[in-house]
C-alpha cells in the first residue's frame, strides 16, 4: 500500500482550466502532481518519470483517454488510470474498462470526490 504523501500523479486534459483545477486540488491533498495537455505529452512524461496514477480526460484530440490507457497499460501495467469525462455513453465506459481503466469520474466532480477516488485506486494496488 503506497503512502498518499509523495504518490506521483499525472493529470492529462486538453482544457487548461480543468487541468489546473484538478492539479491544484490534488496537490493540496498531498500528492505530487504533474500535468500534460494531451495524450502524446502524457506518454513522454510517463517515459521520463512513471507516475503511480494517471488521471486523463476521455475526449482529447489525436490520442484520446481510452487510447492512452491502452498504450500505457501495455508498457506499464502497474500504472493506475482514472478517466475523467464530461459525458460518456455506457458503451464508452464499457470499452474503457476493457482497456484496463481502473475507475472513472463524471464531471462536474468535487475536490472531495476526486481525492477519494484517487486514494481508493492507489490503495487497491
Amino acid at each position: 500500500m503506497a503512502d498518499k504523501d509523495g504518490a506521483k500523479l499525472l493529470i492529462v486534459d486538453d482544457n487548461e482550466g480543468v487541468r489546473h483545477l484538478v492539479s491544484r486540488w490534488l496537490e493540496r491533498a498531498g500528492f505530487m502532481v504533474r500535468e500534460a495537455k494531451d495524450g502524446a505529452e502524457a506518454i513522454e512524461k510517463v517515459k521520463e518519470d512513471p507516475p503511480e496514477i494517471i488521471l486523463a480526460d476521455i475526449r482529447m484530440p489525436k490520442i484520446d483517454g481510452i487510447e492512452l490507457a491502452r498504450i500505457i497499460k501495455s508498457d506499464y501495467p502497474y500504472i493506475k488510470i482514472i478517466l475523467m469525462t464530461a459525458y460518456s455513453s455506457p458503451q464508452t465506459i464499457a470499452q474503457a474498462r476493457r482497456e484496463g481503466v481502473d475507475d472513472y469520474l463524471e464531471k462536474p466532480f468535487t475536490k472531495d470526490q476526486v481525492e477519494k477516488i484517487t486514494l481508493h485506486v492507489l490503495k487497491n494496488e
Binding site: 482544457n15 482550466g17 480543468v18 489546473h20 483545477l21 475526449r59 464530461a86 455513453s89 455506457p90
Partner: protein
C-alpha cells in the same frame, strides 16, 4: 333445297297419271262399241236370226264384263301402292316434323343429337348409329352420341380426319353409301348385337358452309337407300348441323354472359371491399355508386348518397358538409374533362376533424369516346401524414441529440473548470462583496451546466448504464413515486388520485425512466393548476401488449397553437423552463416502442395518454 329435289324426283306421282291416262279412253272405247252393237242388234230383231244375234250379244256383254273386272282390279292394285306410299310419306314427314321440332325445342346438344340419331335410325331402319364431332384440334373426330355400339368400343375413340371411310367423308363433305360390307372381325367386341353390319350411310353434318360433324347409320341387312330416303336424311342432317351451330353459339353466349356476370360480381366485390373510397356519377351527375369505405371515410351511409346529384354536395346542407370537397373536383371532371392523379387535399371531415385526403378523379368514357360520367377514388391519409410528421420529429430529435452531445461535452468541460476555479477563489476571499460576486458567477455557471445536462438526455440511451428496463408493477410502483413527488413538489391544494384497473400487468421500463416520465407530467399538471385541482392517474391493459396510462389534470389546458409544439425540444411556456421535459418524455417512450399523445381543452384540463409496452425493446445503445 331438299323439298324441291324431293318433289321433282318422286316416281309415284308419274305412275298415278299414267294409270289415269290408260283407263279412261279404254272404258270410253268399250262403252262406244257396246252402244253401237245394241243399236245394230235392235234394228235386226225382227229377223229370224234373232236368237243367234241375241246369243252373240250376251257373249259380248260377258267379254266386256270380264275385261272391266280385270281393268278394275289392275286399277285397284295400282291405287293401293299409291295409298301405301302416301301413308309412308306421311309417316316420314311426321318423323321429320318431330325431328325439326326437337331441333328447335332443345339447346342441350347431347339430348338433341340423341333424338335426331334415333329418328335417323328409324328412317333407315337401322340399329347402329353414331354422331361424331371434331375435337379442339380439328384433326380428330370424337364420338358425341351413339346407338348399337358397346360402350368400351367408342369410349375415347378418335378417328383422324382424312383417314378411313368416315374420316375421308368428313374431309370431302360427301355423303357415302356403303353396301355389301365385309365381315368385321372385331364385330363381337364392337356392336351390342355382336355381328357385322351389312350396309352403311355416312353423311356430313354441314350448314352455313361449316362442317360440324358426321352422322353414320348402319344396318344389319342390305338396306336399299332410296333417293327419297337419302334426301330426307340429308335434310335431317342439315337441320341437325344448324341446330349444333346454334347450340354452340348459344353456349358461347351463355359462357360470355356468365363471364360478364362473374366479372361484374368480382368488380363490384372488389370495389366495395377496397380500402379506398369510390364514388361514380352518371352523365347527369347523379351519384350511382358510393362504396362502403367512402361512407366510412366521410361518415355517411352509402344509401343516403346514392341518387343525389353531385352539385347538391354543398356546405349549406349539413349532412353533405364533409362531402363538399368532392363537388369542385367532379365539376372539373364533368365540365372540363379534367383528370387528377394522386392529389392531396386538407379538408374538414366529419365532426370538424381535419383530414388529409389523397384522391384521383377522372371522367368516364365509353369505348366510342362518349362521356358517361365521372369517378373519384379517395383515401384518408391523415394517419400516414401524422406518422410522417412524427418520424420527421423523431429524426429531428435524433440529429439534435447527437449535436447536443457534442456541444454539451465541449461546454460542460469549461463550465466544470469555471465552477471549480471560482470555488477556489472564494475559499481564499475575505471581502464579502467579492464573495457574493463569486457566488453569482458560480450560480450562473451551475445553471448553464444544468441546462446542458438536460440537453444531454437526448443523446443518452433510454437505459443508462445500470438502469436497464425491468418489469415494473405499476400498481405498487406508482403510489411510491406519487409519494416521492408530493414530498418534494406537492402542494396542499392539489389532490392526486390513482384509478388503476385491477390485475394490471407490469410494464418494461427502467426505474429512472418511469420516475422521469411521471415527475415530468405531474410537474406540468401542478403548474397548470395554480389555484389547485385534481390530478387523476388512470391505467388499463389495452389488450394488445400495452398498458395505457392517462395523467389528467383540471388545469388551464393548452391552447391550440401550443398543442402543435408541445413535444418539440426547447419549446416552453414556463419562465426559466428548458423546454426539454416533454421532449425527453416523448423520446424515452418512442425509444422503448411506446408512445404519448395529448388532449386538452382550455380551462377544462389536459390529458396525457401514454402507451407503455409490456415487453421491452432491445437496448440499441
Amino acid at each position: 333445297m331438299d323439298d324441291r329435289e324431293w318433289s321433282t324426283s318422286s316416281p309415284t306421282r308419274k305412275g298415278r297419271s299414267r294409270a289415269q291416262a290408260l283407263i279412261v279412253p279404254l272404258v270410253l272405247a268399250l262403252m262406244a262399241i257396246f252402244i253401237a252393237a245394241v243399236i245394230v242388234i235392235s234394228s235386226l230383231l225382227s229377223s229370224p236370226v234373232n236368237a243367234v244375234i241375241g246369243g252373240a250379244l250376251g257373249f259380248c256383254v260377258l267379254i266386256l264384263a270380264a275385261f272391266l273386272t280385270l281393268e278394275w282390279k289392275r286399277y285397284r292394285d295400282q291405287n293401293k301402292g299409291y295409298i301405301d306410299e302416301i301413308t309412308d310419306l306421311n309417316l316420314r314427314f311426321g318423323i321429320l316434323a318431330d325431328a325439326v321440332s326437337a331441333v328447335s325445342s332443345t339447346l342441350d346438344l347431347e339430348e338433341l343429337v340423341e333424338n335426331i340419331l334415333g329418328v335417323m335410325l328409324t328412317l333407315t331402319n337401322s340399329r347402329i348409329g353414331v354422331v361424331l364431332i371434331p375435337d379442339e384440334s380439328g384433326k380428330l373426330l370424337q364420338v358425341l352420341s351413339h346407338r348399337g355400339f358397346q360402350e368400351k368400343a367408342v369410349r375415347g375413340l378418335k378417328i383422324p380426319v382424312g383417314k378411313g371411310a368416315v374420316g375421308k367423308a368428313f374431309f370431302t363433305g360427301q355423303t357415302v353409301i356403303r353396301k355389301n360390307l365385309a365381315e368385321d372381325p372385331r364385330a363381337k367386341d364392337t356392336y351390342i348385337e355382336g355381328r357385322s353390319p351389312r350396309s352403311q350411310i355416312i353423311m356430313p353434318l354441314k350448314a352455313k358452309g361449316q362442317m360440324v360433324g358426321m352422322a353414320v347409320t348402319a344396318s344389319y341387312d342390305e338396306h336399299e337407300f332410296k333417293p327419297e330416303e337419302v334426301a330426307l336424311l340429308s335434310s335431317l342432317c342439315h337441320e341437325l348441323a344448324v341446330a349444333m351451330i346454334n347450340v354452340d353459339l348459344y353456349q358461347q353466349s351463355q359462357r360470355t354472359m356468365e363471364w360478364l356476370a362473374d366479372t361484374q360480381e368480382y368488380t363490384e366485390h372488389f370495389i366495395s371491399e377496397m380500402l379506398a373510397g369510390v364514388l361514380v356519377t352518371n352523365n347527369e351527375g347523379d351519384i350511382i355508386y358510393f362504396n362502403r369505405e367512402a361512407g366510412d371515410i366521410l361518415d355517411i351511409e352509402p344509401k343516403e348518397i346514392i341518387g343525389v346529384n353531385y352539385t347538391d354536395l354543398t356546405e349549406e346542407r349539413e349532412k353533405f358538409k364533409p362531402l363538399s370537397f368532392l363537388k369542385p373536383i367532379l365539376n372539373l371532371c364533368m365540365k372540363e374533362d379534367r383528370t387528377f392523379r394522386r392529389h392531396e387535399l386538407v379538408v374538414d371531415g366529419p365532426r370538424g376533424k381535419r383530414m388529409t385526403i389523397n384522391f384521383s378523379a377522372f371522367p368516364l368514357h365509353r369505348a366510342k369516346g362518349e362521356r358517361m360520367g365521372a369517378s373519384i377514388v379517395f383515401m384518408d391519409i391523415s394517419a400516414i401524414k401524422d406518422m410522417e410528421s412524427r418520424l420527421r420529429q423523431q429524426d429531428h430529435l435524433s440529429i439534435l441529440g447527437q449535436m447536443a452531445a457534442k456541444i454539451a461535452h465541449e461546454v460542460k468541460n469549461p463550465l466544470f473548470a469555471i465552477i471549480g476555479l471560482v470555488d477556489e477563489l472564494r475559499e481564499d476571499e475575505g471581502d464579502d462583496d467579492r464573495k457574493y460576486l463569486l457566488d453569482m458567477i458560480k450560480k450562473e455557471a451551475a445553471l448553464s451546466n444544468q441546462w446542458i445536462s438536460g440537453m444531454l438526455s437526448f443523446s443518452k440511451s433510454p437505459f443508462p448504464s445500470g438502469d436497464e428496463p425491468v418489469s415494473i408493477p405499476l400498481q405498487s410502483n406508482i403510489p411510491d413515486l406519487i409519494n416521492d413527488f408530493q414530498r418534494s413538489n406537492g402542494r396542499e391544494n392539489i389532490k392526486i388520485i390513482k384509478d388503476f384497473e385491477e390485475s394490471l400487468p407490469p410494464v418494461m421500463l427502467s426505474r429512472d425512466n418511469i420516475r422521469h416520465i411521471l415527475f415530468n407530467l405531474l410537474e406540468n399538471a401542478v403548474q397548470a393548476m395554480p389555484e389547485g385541482g385534481i390530478i387523476t392517474i388512470r391505467a388499463h391493459d389495452t389488450g394488445n401488449g400495452f398498458v395505457e396510462m392517462r395523467v389528467e389534470d383540471t388545469g388551464s389546458g393548452i391552447s391550440g397553437e401550443n398543442m402543435v409544439s408541445i413535444f418539440e425540444p426547447f419549446f416552453t411556456t414556463k419562465e426559466g423552463g428548458t423546454g426539454l421535459g416533454l421532449s425527453i418524455v416523448q423520446k424515452i417512450l418512442l425509444d422503448i416502442g411506446g408512445d404519448i399523445e395529448v388532449r386538452s381543452q382550455e380551462d377544462i384540463g389536459t390529458t396525457f395518454i401514454l402507451k407503455l409496452p409490456m415487453r421491452g425493446v432491445s437496448n440499441g445503445g
